[in-house]
């Protein structure tokens, strides 16, 4: 059982009682890690935003079922992963589906209204554009479990136990192995950059 005084658990317990301001605080706090995870799961920025929003809507809709048996983020990332996997499955079943296809019921309306991004990728980002693209590409080529595990590691503060829960209750050894495999594959693909130290250049 998780400490009920954990700030996230305390917030979620307020959300469970229907506190909308606590809910808004949770959304603000976790929208970035959820977007990071969902986007790198499905590799589509607009769809990722819709799914990330749906993650939080699901949190609200199922709030009464929340029990602080584990950390709030475990619950949140599990919802995010499940919705991301649903999207991957949907695309597998309907590969021809495209955002460019007009909706039959309201063709004159834009498909979705997306505001300017609040955190555009800065030109002087820590990684050069090419290296970043290589890393993203290598990450996208990983099997889903390895990718999710590495992404959760990247978020920081997510323990192996939590990752095991998010990945469907697998063992700790399996988590370690999955993470190690993912790293080994990435290391293999990114070896030239790791050796040259290019990742250190600004």
């Amino acid at each position: 059982m998780v400490d009920r005084n954990d700030p996230d658990v305390a917030l979620m317990l307020r959300v469970k009682e229907g506190d909308l301001s606590a809910y808004e605080t949770l959304v603000e706090k976790f929208k970035q890690p959820v977007m990071n995870l969902v986007y790198r799961l499905i590799n589509d920025i607009d769809e990722a935003e819709d799914i990330a929003q749906n993650v939080f809507v699901q949190v609200w809709k199922t709030r009464e079922r929340y029990e602080p048996a584990s950390k709030f983020t475990t619950w949140l990332f599990t919802i995010a992963r499940n919705l991301g996997l649903n999207e991957i499955r949907r695309r597998t079943r309907h590969p021809a589906d495209s955002l460019d296809e007009p909706r039959p019921d309201n063709e004159s309306q834009p498909l979705r209204v997306v505001e300017d991004r609040s955190s555009p990728i800065p030109a002087d980002a820590a990684l050069s554009g090419e290296l970043r693209a290589k890393v993203e590409e290598a990450l996208m080529d990983l099997p889903e479990k390895q990718r999710t595990a590495l992404l959760l590691c990247r978020e920081g503060g997510v323990s192996y136990e939590e990752i095991a829960d998010v990945l469907g209750g697998i063992s700790l050894t399996a988590v370690k192995s999955i993470i190690f495999r993912g790293r080994a594959v990435l290391k293999n693909r990114l070896k030239p950059y790791l050796k040259s130290g290019e990742w250190q250049k600004k």
Partner: protein, 160 residues
């Protein structure tokens, strides 16, 4: 473990899950070899350096709008579960429940009726059984008359 074994183990990790023992050997090797450890750390740094995915400025507002819309459409969320079951969204379940209840009540009534009929029938059979000996005696006498020889018509006429 030497460098060659370490490289082989890395290759194995690409191909399959490692065992507890293999993972422990790798971790021991990394702890003892700063060069390899630095490469792993570089990899972690690369992943950590990936920029955050851009989030729309109105993300939270849109989520809250969606939640408020859902609340307006289904205000019953704050009600008890049994109250929610009475809302129109559960109409098919309500109809199915009513039909099931009607069937159960009908069956109970029918079974009760059958039970009563059986009791009445048993009472009637018992009452008939009390008359059976006398009734059978009369029956045998009548049957004997029916099976007697035909009347001698000439004798009958003479007797008249």
């Amino acid at each position: 473990m030497n460098q060659s074994e370490f490289d082989n183990l890395l290759q194995t990790a690409i191909e399959r899950d490692l065992t507890d023992g293999e993972l422990a050997r790798l971790q021991r090797w990394l702890a003892a070899n700063p060069t390899d450890q630095a490469e792993w750390e570089a990899l972690d740094h690369l992943l950590a350096s990936l920029p955050d995915t851009p989030v729309a400025t109105n993300f939270t507002a849109r989520v809250l709008d969606e939640v408020r819309r859902a609340e307006t459409a289904h205000p019953a969320l704050d009600q008890a579960w049994w109250q929610r079951l009475l809302s129109p969204q559960f109409r098919p379940i309500q109809i199915a429940a009513a039909a099931t209840l009607a069937m159960v009540l009908g069956d109970v009534g029918y079974q009760s009726h059958l039970k009563q009929s059986r009791a009445e029938m048993a009472a009637a059979v018992a009452a008939i059984a009390e008359f059976t000996p006398g009734f059978l005696a009369d029956f045998e006498a009548i049957e004997a008359i029916a099976q007697a020889d035909p009347i001698d018509e000439e004798l009958w006429a003479a007797l008249k």
